[in-house]
């Protein structure tokens, strides 16, 4: 019987045909917890009578939201989580490796066909590796820590086929912002987005992660890029696994099939205060910015930093009065950028380069905005108050648009730099 990728993953993991709409107690292949939502999951695990976790090797622990600890309660959370990892024999990446979603991907902890959960809404990022990955709350995670399984309602899928070739300095972030604008903030609620098409398959893994990452911004439960040779090259370089075919069938029961062409796509910007409030960059060009943030699980990889550096070119400095904060998504990406000379360029031009972490994106640690300030950010959310004051304004865009805007101190079309 024909099936979507989501249906195939659940069917394969359950050993029988499972259809969209069915509720199954599915096995969980990997579970990720971090410093913000992890402590509550651990407490709930105890309240549920949990003594030993179901399988310490399937649990991924790390700290990225408040690192190095920015307060005594944050430090206490880290201590609490370290103790739990020690007691349970869980490998803890601690605060050394970087942002959770980047780390899970680059350590090879996600692979095609797996069911993965994380106590973070952007867990859907691992769909770039062909996994069914979804964000859950801490209480559901307590259940997963105890039983290694969770009730899932197998979602219907929307097929998103993207063709064409990106123009100069236009890419994955522009595509996914335009999709958010088109589908809407709740247009894919309870559904999986399944990405395919030439533009997707020509995209590197960094770009695919940007796309899968923002599936949640349309309400989706998962965002899965159909695995291809590039997926398998990435995954097999990181773990011992035999490639297999995983694609949605042509006649599968997709809820909807959407077709896009990126050939004429302009750089996109999400304007305050919703991610689906998306316009062409030209519509907001000239808007003064106080802060530019290049980083996060959405756009903190080497390729993103290289895209920003290419726009920076040989310019001496970013515009006066703009704070530019650059945060590589992981230690590995940081080293790549360092060895590639990118970090030196950013610092020379006047950026603050911070150690890998979520940074201003979670609005709690540092890089917060004062009332009336404007930020242009490569992260994934521009909700009111997301990066500090509820009276601040956050715009979302690509690393290229961020670099162009940092150069001129106002939102700028990167194609005109």
């Amino acid at each position: 019987m024909s099936a979507t990728i989501a249906e195939k993953i659940f069917s394969q993991r359950c050993g029988r045909t499972v259809r969209a709409g069915e509720v199954v107690m599915a096995p969980v292949d990997a579970a990720m917890i971090h410093d913000i939502t992890g402590p509550l999951a651990v407490r709930v695990f105890g309240e549920m009578g949990g003594e030993r976790v179901y399988d310490p090797e399937r649990i991924i622990m790390l700290f990225d939201h408040q690192v190095p600890a920015d307060s005594i309660p944050a430090a206490e959370n880290h201590v609490f989580m370290r103790q739990f990892a020690d007691e349970q024999g869980i490998h803890n990446y601690d605060l050394l490796e970087g942002v959770c979603h980047q780390v899970v991907m680059e350590k090879g902890r996600a692979a095609p066909g797996e069911i993965i959960v994380g106590t973070d809404s952007h867990t859907c990022t691992y769909g770039a590796a062909g996994a069914f990955a979804t964000g859950i709350g801490s209480t559901d995670m307590g259940f997963v820590l105890k039983f290694g399984a969770l009730y899932f309602r197998v979602p219907e899928s929307i097929l998103v086929e993207v063709d064409g070739k990106f123009g100069r300095r236009v890419g994955a972030k522009d595509l996914i912002l335009s999709l958010a604008g088109d589908i809407g903030a709740d247009g894919a609620t309870y559904m999986a987005l399944e990405f395919t098409g030439r533009a997707l398959h020509e995209m590197n893994m960094a770009g695919r992660m940007t796309c899968a990452n923002m599936a949640i911004e349309m309400g989706a439960k998962a965002g899965i890029v159909r695995p291809d040779a590039a997926t398998w090259e990435y995954v097999t370089a990181r773990r011992d696994i035999e490639p297999f075919d995983l694609a949605g069938d042509a006649d599968a029961g997709y809820r909807e099939r959407r077709h896009y062409d990126v050939t004429d796509l302009a750089p996109q910007v999400a304007v305050p205060h919703n991610v689906d409030n998306v316009v062409d960059v030209g519509d907001v060009a000239g808007t003064k910015v106080d802060q530019v943030f290049i980083g996060s699980c959405t756009n903190g990889r080497y390729e993103d930093l290289a895209e920003a550096a290419e726009v920076l070119g040989t310019a001496d400095a970013f515009a006066d009065g703009v704070r530019v904060i650059v945060i590589p998504a992981s230690r590995t990406e940081y080293l790549k950028a360092l060895r590639g000379g990118l970090i030196e360029r950013f610092v020379e031009a006047g950026a603050l380069v911070e150690a890998p972490c979520c940074g201003p994106c979670m609005g709690g640690a540092f890089g917060l905005l004062a009332p009336g300030e404007v930020s242009l950010s490569t992260s994934n959310r521009n909700f009111r108050g997301r990066q500090g004051s509820t009276q601040a304004l956050v715009y979302l865009a690509s690393p290229a648009t961020a670099a162009a805007s940092a150069l001129y101190g106002e939102i700028t079309d990167p194609r005109e730099v």
Binding site: G15, M25, V44, E47, P73, A74, N77, T119, G135, F147
Partner: protein
């Protein structure tokens, strides 16, 4: 008991901002609920009040601090035209009852409100509005009083079983 009415796309950053996420106690979280977006809520909410939203209530972060902050403020029921997926499940798991009400738009801020769960309706400002029950397997979690109570007495689960 009154209605606290909100609009569409109320995100979990609005319900509880990121800088309070090292707090886990519902009563402490409640002091910062809607801080910066609707400050009078934390001071004015009383036991039994009902939060009413439009579409996509609870979108954004998976932070369970959001339903906990509402519970800490005395809110036991949230009514909306539609809910974001993770918030809906978190609410059920923590014992906050999310009710879908297609006519939520007609409810006004400050309306006197009562909830009749077994009857399947809420009454706001004297008007009866139908609400959709929590579906299938989630109903068992609601009936148990949340996922902790539901899971406490389970030694194991049957993987791949259907609901």
């Amino acid at each position: 008991m009154r209605v606290w009415k909100f609009g569409d796309d109320i995100d979990t950053d609005a319900i509880i901002p990121g800088r309070f996420l090292t707090i886990y106690d519902p009563a402490e979280l409640a002091k910062h609920a809607f801080e910066g977006t609707r400050d009078e809520f934390a001071k004015g909410a009383r036991e039994g009040d009902v939060v009413v939203g439009g579409t996509n209530f609870g979108c954004g972060s998976s932070r369970e601090h959001a339903p906990l902050a509402l519970l800490g403020a005395g809110i036991g029921v949230v009514v909306a035209k539609s809910f974001a997926r993770i918030f809906y499940r978190n609410a059920v798991n923590t014992g906050l009852l999310p009710l879908v009400c297609p006519e939520a738009d007609s409810i006004r801020d400050g309306d006197a409100v009562s909830v009749d769960i077994s009857g399947g309706y809420i009454e706001a400002n004297g008007k009866r509005l139908a609400v959709e029950p929590v579906p299938g397997f989630l109903k068992r979690i609601v009936d148990a009083g949340g996922l902790v109570a539901y899971a406490k007495n389970l030694d194991e689960v049957e993987t791949c079983s259907t609901e």
